[in-house]
Chain length 360, copies 2
């Protein structure tokens, strides 16, 4: 018999999860304080609307707003004494503390956090592939059973997530740096645009768009998230403040004094950014590896790239990554072939021998 998952809260995360689980053979029932929201989720094929006839679920996923999550978790632990309960809130320590203090049977509670979201909210923004390839953090605690952890893992794996297991406090410190402070930075940079003349915002380019994309996020939701993770966010934000102070000081010295050492300060901040950026894993969860790039000029003719890749393969060299730069209307492009360092010279030699134009 298929696992029955009951989802409380049919916003972006709850509805996306319902769609993905239904699609993968789970039985899904849905609840939300808003009858409109739950019907929209049902129409999007996220599952059936739960009513008094609905049987007891195997797993309950609480996908409610962060500031009511803990209370709802306690309620459902009491209501279904055999169900495993998880939640998807972005902050884990504070939820866990309320549940442990509540007197409810916390052995069946295992918090979790799918690292998936969009700058849009609500069921209408739901996507079946929202969790595909994303991390889903599971935070067991001392009192949770292995069986409960397994149930939550089953749900996360079913929707294509990569499961990570860590303690709640470790999770909260991590998301302060990789999610909560970046949100604040995007909001603050965007806030500086409010008073600009129209001609100035007209100069916005892709860099600004990327930096500020998540500044469009829901302020109510994010106020709850930031407040719920205040200690960890504050620690990282103090690091940000120290660096901003350093840069303001360096710029002051350039404007008002002789600027001695200022370029060094600016350069150090930018280089630290390079180093931090290099630690971010690739899109599909791969750790960045130390590949080297061989650039090859590729004519814009049918089959040229396929021919190049065939030549690479026949040279017995394993292509690790490939990026094609191909401008509109350009007669040639550049194929950037990533290989392990030991393969760089053999590949360059072989491709040059075959008549390809190879560059550093």
């Amino acid at each position: 018999m298929s696992t029955h998952v009951h989802i409380v809260g049919t916003g972006l995360i709850g509805t996306s999860l319902g769609i993905a689980l239904s699609h993968n053979g789970f039985r899904v029932s849905l609840a939300d304080p808003s009858p409109t929201a739950v019907r929209l989720a049902r129409d999007l094929q996220a599952g059936e609307v739960a009513d008094d006839e609905t049987s007891a679920p195997d797993v309950v996923v609480v996908a409610a707003p962060p500031d009511v999550t803990a209370r709802v978790v306690v309620d459902v632990l009491d209501r279904w004494p055999d169900a495993v309960v998880t939640d998807v809130a972005s902050v884990k320590e504070s939820v866990l503390r309320v549940v442990l203090d509540s007197g409810a049977d916390a052995s069946r509670y295992v918090g979790s956090h799918p690292m998936a979201g969009r700058e849009r909210s609500g069921a209408a923004a739901a996507r079946a592939d929202l969790f595909d390839g994303r991390a889903w953090v599971i935070v067991p605690h001392e009192g949770s059973t292995d069986a409960a952890v397994r149930r939550v893992r089953e749900v996360a794996l079913a929707v294509g997530s990569a499961v990570r297991v860590m303690p709640a406090h470790e999770h909260d410190e991590a998301v302060a740096a990789v999610s909560h402070v970046p949100q604040l930075a995007a909001s603050i940079v965007a806030a500086c645009l409010r008073e600009l003349p129209e001609s100035a915002v007209g100069l916005a380019g892709q860099g600004l768009r990327d930096v500020t994309r998540i500044a469009a996020s829901d302020p109510r939701l994010w106020t709850q998230i930031l407040a719920g993770n205040a200690p960890a966010v504050r620690d990282v934000l103090r690091l940000v403040r120290d660096q901003v102070d350093d840069v303001v000081g360096a710029l002051d010295a350039l404007v008002d004094a002789d600027g001695d050492g200022s370029l060094g300060t600016l350069s150090r901040v930018l280089e630290a950014g390079n180093l931090g950026h290099a630690r971010i894993p690739g899109k599909h969860g791969a750790a960045p590896a130390a590949y080297e790039v061989v650039s090859v000029v590729v004519p814009d003719e049918a089959g040229a790239l396929a021919r190049l890749l065939t030549d690479v393969g026949e040279a017995g060299i394993n292509l690790e990554d490939l990026h094609l730069e191909h401008g509109l209307g350009q007669a040639v492009g550049v194929a950037e072939i990533s290989v392990v360092p030991a393969s760089v010279e053999p590949l360059r030699a072989e491709l040059a021998r075959l008549g390809w134009r190879v560059h550093d």
Copy 2:
């Protein structure tokens, strides 16, 4: 007879400009202190390598690093007494000042700034469509002739840019907010990732990737840009610091005191971010015509990617860009094929028919 544009500096901007102008019927000659760089630009069809025989140009575009731009502008004004000279540096007031103070014939100098760039540098990253649909700011000064402004405008329009005309100081204040401070924010957020445990950076999602994408930018180049625009960058960065201080204060109050008013402070910063973000013009008319991406699962076997590209070519569809995501130790990778929107459905259908696993 076609206009002869001489480009000094064959990095990303100079090479991209050479390719785009050559393609549009301009005669382009190229110079760079590095013989390797100028030959790569020539191989990418950016123009001919200039030598002693090369005739005097109609327009000179100085695409040198920011800290030598002013000096090179003065040199070429003296060298070619009939040429109009422009530069593409990201900061305009400081270049103008040096040129005016130099005693060179500044009436033929009109500074400009194509708002196009990438987080990568060098000729190998050049693209013919780099300027397409992007703003190209032209900054006339009191002594520049209308004829000189027209020449620079001709170059900008030829490569598809949207010309904006404004005084140098207005340009510098605008880019401090829409480009220079966002760069610092991205670098500083990324810098906070340096000391994180591996398990923490493993939780990075698309939000962090977007906020920090430009943190991969060249520190040498950006040190020069920030130093060159120190007064304007400092003014905006002080606004950033005030907001960071407000948020740190609110988080302090939540952690150490009763948190009265803290949620209001957090919410105001996030809402200000919403408002600022809403002012950023849409991609239309600003960024290059967006391609759409078709993602195809590629087995990690010799020749699989070559086979896929052969199939794309035989489907008669023009591949505009290609990125291969290839996770370490993963049995499959994902090829992200960029095509014009009209080709998305035909390509998906044809690849699915041939047995490829195609995703949104």
